[in-house]
């Protein structure tokens, strides 16, 4: 940056203060996770004696983690199944739908588009009750498919909205060139749309995935069998245990976060860029 010398120096010292404040805020923000981590190695008695500092490594209770792993693995498996299926389904269908709106202005597309837009404004809170009845009529209660279908349906409106704007921005010539080469619409999507919209699809995928991962309300209502529970419901049930060994509980919480942490570590840049970009699109 080409700032004047005096201002740069002034900024340097002020920066130090800013770092302190930012660091302080971030520290407090991360504090819950620090606590989660250090408690997960203790048992209740150790925690009562020294709640703040981590215990000596020799006295760590690794069995808390075994308990957590045994508890969480089935839930994680279910959650992965639901989230990935819902995300893939949602994106595929949304791309197709957005393509319809963005490619040509077909007759009735105006009305259909408004139908989608209206849903963006509608608060979904009143739907929970009739959705329950609907799933019952469709014999989908107590199945994972119900959750996947709901995940796919729920993501449509937002995903199509964003994708439509994006696809419209793709230069028409690319499509026309493909068409001249005899490509069907499906091939046009595969060869033109997908390669160009990689980043936006990535962002939407992440958002949909996270949304599905964190959902607990519909699973709580829909599912009966413990083996089907995704993470959210599993944690709620854990919270309802009368006698809580906090070490076990914290280890379980940490293991629940692990998959996302791993995913994040590998796709870090995508996450950050995606979230900021999604932010700008507003």
């Amino acid at each position: 940056m080409t700032d004047g010398q005096t201002t740069a120096k002034g900024r340097q010292s002020a920066d130090w203060l800013k770092h302190l404040v930012i660091g302080g805020i971030l520290f407090i923000e991360m504090f819950p996770f620090y606590m989660m981590l250090q408690i997960s190695f203790k048992d209740n008695a150790m925690f009562n004696r020294s709640p703040w500092l981590p215990a000596w490594i020799t006295s760590w209770h690794w069995e808390n983690w075994i308990f957590g792993a045994k508890l969480v693995t089935p839930y994680l498996a279910n959650t992965v199944f639901i989230s990935v299926s819902a995300t893939v389904g949602s994106i595929v269908i949304a791309v197709m739908g957005a393509y319809f709106f963005a490619r040509y202005r077909m007759p009735f597309s105006g009305i259909l588009w408004s139908a989608f837009l209206v849903l963006m404004l509608m608060p979904g809170v009143a739907n929970i009750v009739p959705l329950f009845l609907l799933l019952k009529e469709m014999h989908l209660l107590n199945t994972l498919w119900a959750l996947i279908i709901l995940g796919v349906a729920g993501g449509q409106v937002f995903n199509i909205y964003v994708l439509r704007n994006f696809i419209e921005d793709i230069p028409k010539d690319l499509f026309e060139a493909a068409e001249i080469d005899g490509a069907s619409h499906f091939q046009q999507i595969m060869n033109v749309v997908i390669p160009l919209s990689g980043s936006i699809i990535g962002t939407l995928a992440i958002l949909t995935f996270l949304g599905s991962w964190n959902d607990f309300l519909m699973p709580l209502i829909v599912l009966r069998d413990r083996q089907l529970f995704p993470l959210g419901v599993g944690l709620i049930y854990l919270d309802g245990e009368p006698v809580k060994e906090w070490g076990n509980t914290m280890a379980t919480y940490f293991l629940s976060s692990l998959p996302l942490i791993i995913l994040f570590l590998f796709t870090m840049k995508l996450f950050v860029r995606g979230l900021s970009a999604g932010a700008i699109k507003g």
Partner: protein, 316 residues
């Protein structure tokens, strides 16, 4: 821009409609149909089974007289105002990060910000619930340690007269009806939301350094820079956050459900409209009445949304 088609071409391209069919079917079945069903069932006394008794406007009349509902609106009003104040730390953090000299640091702080977001919201919530625990929780330990507890006892004794803070007795954050709303407000300290900060940061990026230089030359101090330069430029994002916040808080009840249970906690202090609707349907089994409640809430929120849309022009 999609080209308008000649009728011949449109007919030729009829297959395109097929592309829309899955979306349309899903949305119609799982979003439109339930909405219609909710309206329909709100006129019935429906306990969830196969038989429903038509009762006309009885449910709505009950809604008007429903004390719990109107009290829950009061509660949610308090929470909305609190949440508005809780927007401030995000803005401040964004400004602070933005004003840093080094780009590298800015990038790393953005990464650090995303980190909390990957922990599932549910885990974060349960950890906070743990913090509120009277016997094991951190909040009480901090209060005892820093002497905040003594302060609260004195406050209670001389000023509040609630009779809930006593020496030697752990503070029951989530089971004392007076403390429930404060707990809901305190939750989430330090109240920075990753997405929010990133949005504001993105907005602030567009401010060029020349503006700052000019301001420095004019002898403008930090605070004034904030008010006159930075705030106006992120105003749109702030307004958008505000709108989303208000609508989100109005509908939301997941937080209250997980922290307090389906009855809104001790004395029902944590009951919010969404939770009351959930409670009537899934704890009391009064599905018809719950639909009516849902309808009322829906209209309320819709009205607010439309109002907001008129007032807030979202610039792309």
């Amino acid at each position: 821009m999609p080209a308008t088609l000649s009728h011949r071409k449109a007919l030729h391209e009829w297959q395109l409609y097929l592309f829309l069919v899955p979306s349309l079917v899903l949305v119609a079945t799982f979003m439109y149909f339930p909405a219609a069903s909710a309206i329909y069932h709100s006129f019935f006394d429906w306990q969830g089974g196969d038989a429903a008794r038509f009762t006309g406007l009885a449910n709505y009349r009950r809604v008007i007289n429903d004390v719990v509902l109107w009290r829950s609106f009061e509660t949610i009003g308090i929470l909305i105002i609190a949440n508005i104040f809780k927007l401030i730390p995000s803005i401040l953090l964004a400004v602070l990060i933005h004003r840093l000299g080094s780009e590298k640091w800015q990038y790393w702080y953005r990464v650090l910000l995303v980190l909390p977001m990957i922990v599932p919201g549910l885990v974060r919530l349960f950890i906070w619930k743990f913090f509120f625990d009277p016997n094991f929780g951190i909040l009480n330990k901090v209060l005892d340690f820093t002497g905040g507890k003594t302060l609260l006892i004195a406050l209670d004794h001389h000023f509040l007269h609630w009779g809930i803070f006593h020496a030697g007795v752990p503070v029951p954050w989530l089971s004392e009806s007076h403390l429930i709303i404060p707990s809901l407000i305190i939750w989430g300290f330090p109240w920075i939301g990753t997405v929010g900060v990133l949005i504001y940061l993105a907005g602030l990026q567009s401010i060029g350094t020349e503006v700052y230089e000019a301001a420095d030359l004019d002898g403008v101090n930090s605070f004034q820079k904030f008010i006159h330069i930075e705030l106006p430029l992120i105003m749109t994002q702030v307004r958008l956050s505000l709108v989303l916040l208000i609508i989100g808080t109005l509908q939301g009840f997941g937080l209250q459900f997980l922290l307090l249970g389906a009855n809104g906690g001790a004395g029902g202090s944590g009951m919010v409209p969404g939770l009351w609707m959930f409670n009537r349907a899934f704890s009391a089994g009064e599905f018809g009445y719950a639909c009516a409640l849902g309808m009322v809430l829906f209209i309320f929120i819709l009205a607010l949304t439309l109002l907001n849309n008129k007032y807030v022009r979202v610039e792309k």
